[in-house]
């Protein structure tokens, strides 16, 4: 299910004509002002943190890791053995990324990542999770009905494919390395990275080759 004008948390917004900020907006402002007034928080530091996750740390990082693994078999080996060190080679590390395990999709095995207890997610390579990943419907069903969940994402897997669900119950973070689509042998690493979606690295999508130009 997709939503447009209505946000996932269930209410419509009109950003242009929002007369009164919603309650959490006011409360957040009150909290920030209080912490700043007490000299405990520097608003410029908050700006930097917001900017880092809005503009620097996101799924493009993970896509670069996957593309490198596709073109460089030695890198892929290192990634599958020690994910944390392998992402650090490309300059990605940090919050929630240290203990990273990369799991590889093959024609026989499809991996799917969830956190049933909260919302653990490999921030260093994927940034902050989308709302659906943090939502009760995904967290409740990914473990009991992974095939149904994947069907909802438009992905029907053959019965003979083994689905491995990874419930992130500790400080280990999981990154799915999707299958490289056939017909991409001539693509550059950059072009390959552009094909890799966030959802394919969570395990709710596959990666497809670009449609041939008419």
């Amino acid at each position: 299910m997709y939503i447009g004008a209505v946000h996932a948390h269930g209410h419509a917004h009109d950003h242009e004509h929002q007369a009164v900020p919603s309650d959490p907006a006011l409360r957040t402002k009150a909290l920030e002002s209080l912490l700043v007034e007490k000299g405990l928080v520097d608003p410029a530091a908050l700006d930097t943190l917001v900017d880092a996750f809005e503009n620097k740390i996101g799924p493009r990082n993970g896509a670069r890791v996957v593309a490198r693994a596709w073109v460089d078999p030695e890198y892929k080996k290192r990634l599958l053995v020690d994910g944390g060190s392998a992402i650090a080679e490309l300059g990605y590390a940090g919050s929630q990324g240290e203990h990273l395990i990369a799991v590889e999709n093959t024609p026989q095995v499809h991996n799917l990542v969830v956190c049933t207890l909260c919302s653990c997610y490999p921030w260093a390579v994927l940034g902050l999770p989308p709302v659906w990943y943090k939502s009760a419907p995904y967290r409740s069903r990914a473990v009991i009905d992974p095939r149904g969940v994947l069907r909802e994402f438009g992905l029907e897997l053959p019965e003979e494919t083994e689905i491995r669900v990874w419930d992130s119950t500790a400080e280990i973070r999981y990154l799915v390395v999707p299958e490289r689509p056939v017909g991409t042998e001539n693509l550059s690493e950059d072009d390959l990275a552009a094909l890799v979606s966030r959802d394919s690295m969570i395990g709710t999508a596959k990666v497809f080759a670009p449609k041939p130009k008419p």
């Binding site: 939503i3 946000h7 948390h9 917004h13 996750f53 009760a136 419907p137 095939r147 990874w166 400080e171």
Partner: protein
């Protein structure tokens, strides 16, 4: 605790609602809540496990009703009050009381960029903990129902699985969340067959892997 946060296997939560081209933060306040969480985390007054537990302690109806960042905001205010950094009156009035603020580490703008990428370490390779299991061992997750924080979901309790990987020694959330020390324990990836967890309706091929600490497990 057997809380509402332990969602694995529940029914009736509705369809998975996706949003195309979803922004990182839907509204500016969400980004501020995220950043405040990181900044006040740098005070070092609580830990990740305590912080998770504080969200689990929200009343169940609120937990389901509130958006993700509303939960973070409520959790942050609760932790700041509980640790004596702000008072309830201050947050209600929006005015700092006259007494001096506690001396805490204030994250500078210069530090913040590196902080966004900070490596949090939870492995304790030098801790003296005994590993009771090796890869390949058949284990049963304990039927335990602690009132406090735990990372053993209800759906795996009492179920049999196989140790598939040994991660090393890690901070133990069940004690760390309650400021009873890190008490590091061996951590394993345990593979449970989908049919063991959910019965014959589940696919005979599928499985769920959970990362479980040594004290959650017994030999099967």
């Amino acid at each position: 605790m057997n809380g509402i946060h332990d969602l694995g296997g529940m029914h009736g939560m509705g369809p998975i609602v996706r949003e195309e081209n979803e922004p990182v933060f839907h509204e500016p306040w969400e980004g501020r809540v995220y950043a405040i969480t990181r900044a006040i985390g740098a005070f070092g007054k609580w830990n990740l496990d305590a912080s998770r537990h504080a969200i689990e302690m929200l009343p169940p109806a609120d937990y389901l009703r509130m958006s993700y960042y509303e939960k973070w905001l409520a959790r942050n205010i609760g932790l700041l009050i509980r640790h004596g950094i702000i008072t309830r009156e201050e947050i209600e009035t929006g005015k700092a009381a006259t007494e001096a603020a506690p001396a805490l580490r204030r994250l500078s703008a210069a530090e913040a960029a590196a902080h966004a990428n900070r490596r949090d370490r939870y492995s304790r390779p030098d801790a003296a903990a005994v590993a009771r299991f090796v890869v390949g061992d058949r284990v049963r997750a304990r039927n335990m129902n602690p009132e406090g924080h735990t990372r053993l979901p209800r759906y795996a309790r009492g179920k049999q699985g196989v140790i598939s990987r040994h991660h090393g020694i890690f901070v133990f959330p069940d004690t760390n969340a309650h400021f009873q020390g890190e008490q590091p324990q061996h951590l394993y990836s345990v593979r449970f067959a989908a049919r063991e967890l959910w019965g014959d309706e589940a696919s005979p091929r599928d499985c769920v892997h959970l990362d479980l600490w040594d004290p959650y497990l017994d030999h099967a």
